[in-house]
Symmetry: C2
Subunit: 427 residues, 2 copies
Amino acid sequence: MSRRNQIDAAVRGEIAAGNGLLNRRVLLSGGLFAAGAAGIAQAQSSESVGVNAPTWMKTPGRDFSGYGFPAKSQDKVQREYPTGQVRPTTSSHTPLHLLEGTITPNGLHFERHHNGVPDIDPNRHELAIHGLVARPLAFSLDALMRYPMETHIRFIECSGNSGGYTSAQPTQTTAGGINGLLSCSEWTGVRLSTLLAETGIAPGAKWVIAEGADAAAMSRSVPLEKCLDDAVIALYQNGEAIRPEQGYPMRLLLPGFEGNMSVKWLRRLKVTDAPADTRDETSHYTELMPGGKARQFMFPHEVKSAIIRPSLGMTMKAPGFYEISGLAWSGAGRISKVEVTADGGKTWAQAALGDPVLPKALTRFRLAWQWSGQAAVLASRATDQTGATQPTRAAWLAQYAPRQGYHFNGIQSWGVEPDGTVKNVYI
Amino acid sequence: MSRRNQIDAAVRGEIAAGNGLLNRRVLLSGGLFAAGAAGIAQAQSSESVGVNAPTWMKTPGRDFSGYGFPAKSQDKVQREYPTGQVRPTTSSHTPLHLLEGTITPNGLHFERHHNGVPDIDPNRHELAIHGLVARPLAFSLDALMRYPMETHIRFIECSGNSGGYTSAQPTQTTAGGINGLLSCSEWTGVRLSTLLAETGIAPGAKWVIAEGADAAAMSRSVPLEKCLDDAVIALYQNGEAIRPEQGYPMRLLLPGFEGNMSVKWLRRLKVTDAPADTRDETSHYTELMPGGKARQFMFPHEVKSAIIRPSLGMTMKAPGFYEISGLAWSGAGRISKVEVTADGGKTWAQAALGDPVLPKALTRFRLAWQWSGQAAVLASRATDQTGATQPTRAAWLAQYAPRQGYHFNGIQSWGVEPDGTVKNVYI
């Protein structure tokens, strides 16, 4: 049996779903790409490969640096602006399609400002906790540093993320353009419940109004229950002091809740008996329902996923094996399952999930695919630990008034063309 | 009972070990700091705190940026050079004492070069696998991108890390100065076993010689068994393309093995029947034994830990509550236990470990401490999943000839002085 026939036989035995989706173990059995794939050549003889050194081996390299930067050839890996904008007006996106894994490097965490990034003197910044408390207190950064801390990997997603999916026609945007108001970091800080134990809570307390020290004084109302659960005053992001765009010197982190509530540059928490109905929880960040009423305070992100590779902007150079890779997440906890289709939803195969699967963090999923060279429609569908599964785009839209674009979590899809290009399609 | 008496009673009931080590739950019960600690003031009245806005709330903030940087006030958070050097000659250290959590931001990952950082054109770089293989192959970066990938958080440690602990007198260096040849990232890449399945392995193959594309052609011999286990060709570091100082566009990653073997700028893997005895596994990275023989090929890092907060350079401003926080790791897998002493080793209490505890990754440990204001000697002792525990410094030294400084994993300690300063001491 020829090598090509061996490969075909191996593939036939490992079909997971229609249009070429394979069980992962077929790739681990090896020898599937090497038969002539682009970019794989016979190596030179053992003598030649040692002697024919590239130019960069012939001169000493660059010296040490105090704080390093990405390679020069990566200079196009930048945060992106929404389509049609020459400069961002409200947000910049994480370029998810240029990244891999689950952690977002700090320089590429998405940005959403309401009046720019304040230049805060950390020695003069204080966090005040006041209102319905027994002992109103103001904490310096030094004081917070003495408290017990905790460290968790958590995603932050803007509630407007993927809002483009509500447009009548699919927008031809990259994976980062569609879903890049989404980032994931290792956050370290002091649990808010520890500080509320210091101030005490007065009778009647039900809400906490969080305010940032930016020029918009961006404010949101947070249920006291969340503040006593897993809310954190975050001081560190991926090991180092939190970045200015993410709230230096401190931000509120409400795991799984819409990103806008994780108030950056946090300066005060006022404990109250009722929500404040601030501008950003009335004119924005609400859900417009059929009939014209707006639904308020839909805080946790529902289960969601997106295929990141392949996606728009990438070109499949030849038929053959590819890995389909994407991200899944849920504000309710852990992802339990991600299914992938290559035939527009007729059949689905289960993807492998990264290990460990962490709650309220991005989970990378992966699946082997033998692309036949014909048109294909790829989509992913995630299920979380509560059993909730992503709805179709149509089912999601049917819940709301036409202009409502917050909290989209419907199934997303990509069309692969016979020429190997990828475009955004609806299924 | 006065508030101070309530606190004292709570503390007495929660003693975990001598000299003030406490059970973690005492801190979660609250109200322990607020009684007059520095940096905690009574908050202004609810009206005042809203009105008295700091200057940075009075002007619009900075605009969006394509790739972000740390806050200006963090400009001293840089990689550090070994004591006494005005510029690094062989390595720069991660400033562990200025960081928190477990992930190292990419800009601060420790550096160790043998002839500088090469400036590699990723479109011309290839990885050749040759020698005792059935099909010698050369892979472009594009070709590797089609293979199935995997993502794991792993530490990398230089085998010379903490070598200062072998000096006769304790060196007065920061935690990063002592232990900062240690970093931890989320790495994504292609499992080496997948590529070896492509090339096939010829009879008699036992070792793989890995060579970097730097001007030193830094080379190490790796057992084939490790290459078929969890070795990865890493392409991404904390989500983005691997940094130049860490091997752009690709490095070998050998989880748990001494860092020098995770060859950066990887250009070839030659499969052989014997180790190559390269310069960096003969003149360096060996263990000098009593009698003068050098022990070679001691690859996995043994279990190890260090207290990072408090540490030299920090000052305890007043007696009272502090969190002791540090890092533990093992090349053999997961950390199972970290014990901490505050009385120089007479009594030990078990610290809380970060969740989840990942194999061959840094684990953050934390313990509550009521500092009395008297002299104290802090130390940590980690145990890994194999049951191995750190030896004392004296027991570690007794194994080797006097000048041997690689692979130190003895117990480390800090002395806290009555004036609140911290210095390096031996116990």
